[in-house]
Amino acid sequence: MTDFLRRLLATPQGLIGSLVVVLVLFAALTGAWLAPHDPDAMAALARYKAPGGDYLLGTDQYGRDILSRILSGARSTVTMALLATLLGTLLGAVVGTGSAYLGGRWDEAIMRTVDAVMAIPSLLMALLVVSLLGASGANALLAVAIAFMPGMARITRAVALTVRKQDYVSAAVARGEGSLYIVLREMLPNVIAPIVVEMTIRVSFAVMLFATLSFLGLGAQPPAADWGLMVSEARQYLHRSPWILIWPSVVIAITAIGFNLLGDGLRDALNPRT
């Protein structure tokens, strides 16, 4: 493990990515306490303030402190993205490994269906699911998870199939091990690594997708301090005070880049070839 960490941190991507992600996670955990102001408190006299003074990053259209909103929004934004990715991955992994394990006709039927579902662009899929369930953060989470599912199913299946062909799995089968042991102890640990890489990169994707859903009015709902929502609301006030748009965009970008870098770093660390 330490060896792995050392390899991860040796690459610039791994290093910067880990740093950023740790920072973002830290903000997600403690942001609500660190916030200097009440993120929801409005101040009629302090609207559209530029950064400086009491308000480090300025204030928004209601006179709310942007820094506090970003900090307290970190929790929901990052957790949502993580949870959605996790859930999508989990669902996808179940379908993918299940399909790979069942094999034969079942595999064919399942994968063709997964392919079919993939023909619906993931944003559109998410839109449909949200409008079905109603616009709210929780439903957006589910929507993103569902939108991620087919892709993840495909990837896990591909990985699971390669793992399944490995001799150590054959050895376990020949030894007469039960399916449960084979799937859980022999296959899963080896399937997980590439999936973790894919997942990490998808987190940034999820952040984008949530933001886009918010823009289309189907994601997090005001007055939530969700970053995507903050950006999409801020578009309207861009000309009064660009800061309202800039700050949340910057944190979104940093988060997305951080997870992307970490994903690339993980990939390199797990695959010594490149």
Binding site: Q61, Y62, S136, Q221, H239
Partner: protein
């Protein structure tokens, strides 16, 4: 402002923020659709910017003494776009169609208490009303009260969804609901001078920012409604005129007065007392509005008399709550649909203000379609949004009487209903004002709905476009008066 004589020609390009989903004038429901209908069709009367009824197809009208019978005289030689004559029979058929539940016209409840419509002669129409109604000439100017050919109503009513045949200043050239609707000048319009422009193009810009950018780039000539922030941005822009009219437009918080805890007037009043109205005007309108006093009338309406302004009083609010049995406040879910965004802004601002009095409000937003389906007129606590109506009667009858078309609050106050009914039969402005003031007092006291502020109607146009006055009603445009000067890029060709 140079009072130049109108010049002819050019293409007027207007930005609209929603699709013209419905072209049928009897079925239109949102401002862009009203605009298209107004270009293509005419009504008996229409409202001036001062909210007075003026002749449109009808040149003159009069009523009997009890205000229950109204006779309208049509112009000579009116012709539909297809060349056929427009006569009193078409007017009768149109109004009958509007009133016929089968066709489900949204204007059914807005055109007055019509009992019967008759054609007296080809140019005279007589309306018999069930109750006296002094505002009738303004009511027949309602957006859906357009005159369409009787033959269409008898034949294929739905055909007007994709084609048009009216008596309006413009004819339909092409119709793409989500992109572009094109009109051309109607050479047979009853006023030979008007309209001045050759063509009108309605361009759909779903993104508000794109509208404004396009106006600044000179790609369009008029944005009928702009947001306060865009308005401020446009105020300094070269070659752009901003347009502003005080109005009775408002966003309100509706209580389901039959659902606890909002069935207790003390609770409703307590909530009203938490609102810092000055701040609310700022939050919601960026200052382009005035304070509301929890009644739908303001000084833009005739027969209006101001009541003492309600201001925030947290102590009193807490006292009322305690009296109503909520000494520690209560928790409630406030529902706002997502369009227009101002609904959410009101909800969020109220949430913060109500906190002071210990009331916890959870804001829930939902797509407009879901809101209409599940919450509207049924909910306990939700946000409404209304254009200014032509008359006080219009707004009261639309929202607050027991028989209101959209009885959002189920307030159903008999005394109030009687006052509104009484006012309908009064011609004397002083007396009418008195009655409406009493009605306002009832509302102000009982607070079926919170009306914290009114918004001005804001718009913007290129300086090369002239004689366009923004209408307080926001759903009226009168583009047949507008003209383009030689600086307009579309005049050059």
């Amino acid at each position: 402002l140079a009072q130049a004589t109108p010049e002819k020609g050019g293409t007027l390009r207007v930005a609209i923020d929603q699709a013209v989903s419905v072209l049928h004038p009897l079925l239109s429901r949102v401002n862009p659709e009203y605009l298209a209908a107004e270009l293509l069709y005419s009504s008996l009367t229409r409202l001036t910017v001062g909210m007075q009824a003026e002749p449109d197809l009808a040149t003159e009208w009069n009523a009997n003494d009890t205000l229950t019978e109204w006779t309208f005289k049509l112009r000579d030689g009116l012709k539909f776009h297809d060349g056929s004559d427009c006569t009193s029979a078409d007017v009768v058929a149109s109004f009958e169609a509007i009133l016929d539940p089968k066709f489900a016209s949204p204007g059914k409840n807005n055109v007055g208490p019509i009992e019967k419509v008759e054609a007296v002669d080809p140019q005279t129409v007589k309306f018999t009303l069930s109750t006296p109604y002094a505002d009738f000439p303004a009511a027949v100017a309602y957006n859906n009260a357009r005159i369409i050919p009787a033959s269409v109503i008898a034949g294929n009513f739905e055909s007007l969804r994709s084609a048009a045949n009216g008596t309006g200043p413009f004819k339909l050239v092409s119709y793409e609901p989500d992109r572009l609707v094109v009109f051309e000048r109607n050479p047979d319009y009853y006023d030979p001078a008007r309209p001045y422009v050759d063509r009108v193009e309605l361009k759909v810009f779903p993104d508000l920012g794109a509208q404004v950018s396009s106006l600044m780039a000179g790609d369009i000539d008029l944005v009928a409604t702009v947001e306060p922030n865009d308005f401020m941005r446009l105020e300094g822009a070269d070659g752009v005129d901003t347009l502003r009219a005080a109005s009775g437009q408002f966003c309100n918080v509706n209580f389901g007065t039959d659902i606890a805890p909002f069935n207790d007037a003390r609770v409703r009043r307590a909530l009203a007392l938490t609102i810092d109205r000055e701040a609310m005007v700022d939050f919601m309108t960026e200052g382009f509005g005035i304070k509301g006093n929890d009644t739908p009338l303001n000084k833009s309406y005739p027969f209006f008399k101001a009541l003492p302004q309600r201001e925030a009083d947290i102590a009193e609010a807490r006292r009322l709550l305690a009296e109503a049995g909520f000494p520690d406040g209560f928790e409630a879910e406030l529902i706002a649909s997502d369009r227009p965004a101002i609904r959410t802004q009101l909800a969020i601002a109220l949430r913060e203000m109500a906190k002071e009095a210990g009331i916890t409000i959870n804001v829930r937003t939902m797509p407009h379609a879901t809101y209409l389906d599940q919450v509207w007129t049924k909910g306990a606590f939700y946000i409404g949004f209304y254009n200014m109506q032509p008359t006080p009667d219009g707004i009261f009858k639309l929202l607050f009487t027991s028989d209101a078309a959209w009885n959002e609050t189920r307030w159903n106050n008999k005394a109030f209903d009687a006052l509104i009914e009484e006012a309908r039969g009064i011609l004397d402005p002083v007396k009418r004002t008195e009655v409406y003031t009493k009605a306002q007092e009832l509302m102000h006291e009982d607070v079926p709905s919170l009306i914290p502020s009114f918004f001005d109607v804001l718009g913007a146009k290129r300086a090369w476009m002239h004689d366009y006055a923004i209408h307080p009603r926001a759903s009226m445009f009168r583009l047949d008066f507008a003209w383009l000067d030689a600086n307009s890029p579309t005049r050059a060709a």
